[in-house]
């Protein structure tokens, strides 16, 4: 009877720790961080859209939206490249990260060069959103990074807690 109570107490005490451990198991830290960054970009998007809409009208809002999409794509593509290539070999990782950098810059340039002649594209809100979002999201993400042996990616939280 006493042993049963002890086990029950232990199970109650251990429950939150188990949740944390289950959440932390992830073989793809960069993918988790990129998903978190993309989610945060979605959260801050109304702010940039409203500011751009106030300053430059509808074209500014559309340009800011394009910048947010490109920043999220950049993070997700960079993480996907690392996740796929790290499974193959270190040489592949090296080559694909450097090649991926060039390809992602080329995609960014290609998209902007193809849309810059349209009326709905405004350069200033696009540039402002691109830079501020990229650097701001990364700077705020460092608050959520654990980078320890137990939790290599994000800091552990209970699964129901919203980050």
């Amino acid at each position: 009877m006493k042993r049963g109570c002890w086990e029950m107490k232990m199970s109650i005490k251990q429950k939150p720790e188990e949740e944390l451990i289950v959440e932390s198991v992830s073989g793809q830290p960069e993918k988790r961080i990129a998903n978190h960054l993309a989610l945060r970009a979605l959260w801050v998007s109304p702010l940039f859209l409203i500011v751009s809409a106030i300053g430059w009208g509808l074209s500014g809002a559309v340009s800011a939206l394009l910048a947010l999409v490109l920043v999220s794509f950049n993070f997700l593509a960079g993480a996907a490249i690392i996740t796929r290539s790290v499974k193959i070999s270190p040489n592949m990782l090296y080559g694909s990260v450097l090649g991926g950098y060039v390809v992602r810059l080329a995609i960014l340039t290609g998209v902007v060069m193809s849309v810059r002649s349209f009326d709905w594209f405004d350069t200033v809100p696009f540039a402002m959103t691109l830079l501020v979002t990229h650097l701001g999201l990364l700077a705020t993400e460092t608050r959520y990074i654990s980078a320890s042996l137990a939790y290599p990616d994000l800091k552990p939280t209970s699964s129901k807690e919203i980050r």
Binding site: P29, I82, L93, V97, Y101, V112, L130, H134, A147
Partner: protein
């Protein structure tokens, strides 16, 4: 070549020089981050080879390092699209 340059107006010449400057600036701005990303990834691979158990942590740091370094290229890109005629 000089004849062609002499026939163009000052405005056209200025636009062309702006475009050349923007392209050169973007290209030069992309060199630094390329070297930086190479250094980051090279050191990350080295540390993963030395301590395979810390590979997850190293990958996290590497991803953030790459993203921060890439911001420099994005600054060059922004200057490029702002300078383009």
């Amino acid at each position: 070549m000089l004849n062609i340059l002499a026939q163009t107006g000052a405005g056209e010449m200025l636009e062309g020089l702006k475009a050349i400057g923007a392209g050169l600036g973007y290209g030069l701005a992309a060199i630094g981050p390329g070297i930086g990303i190479g250094t980051v990834v090279g050191n990350a691979i080295s540390s993963m080879a030395r301590q395979p158990e810390s590979a997850g942590m190293v990958r996290t740091t590497m991803f953030l390092g790459i993203a921060f370094t890439e911001a420099l290229a994005l600054i060059g890109f922004v200057v490029f699209i702002l300078l383009l005629p």
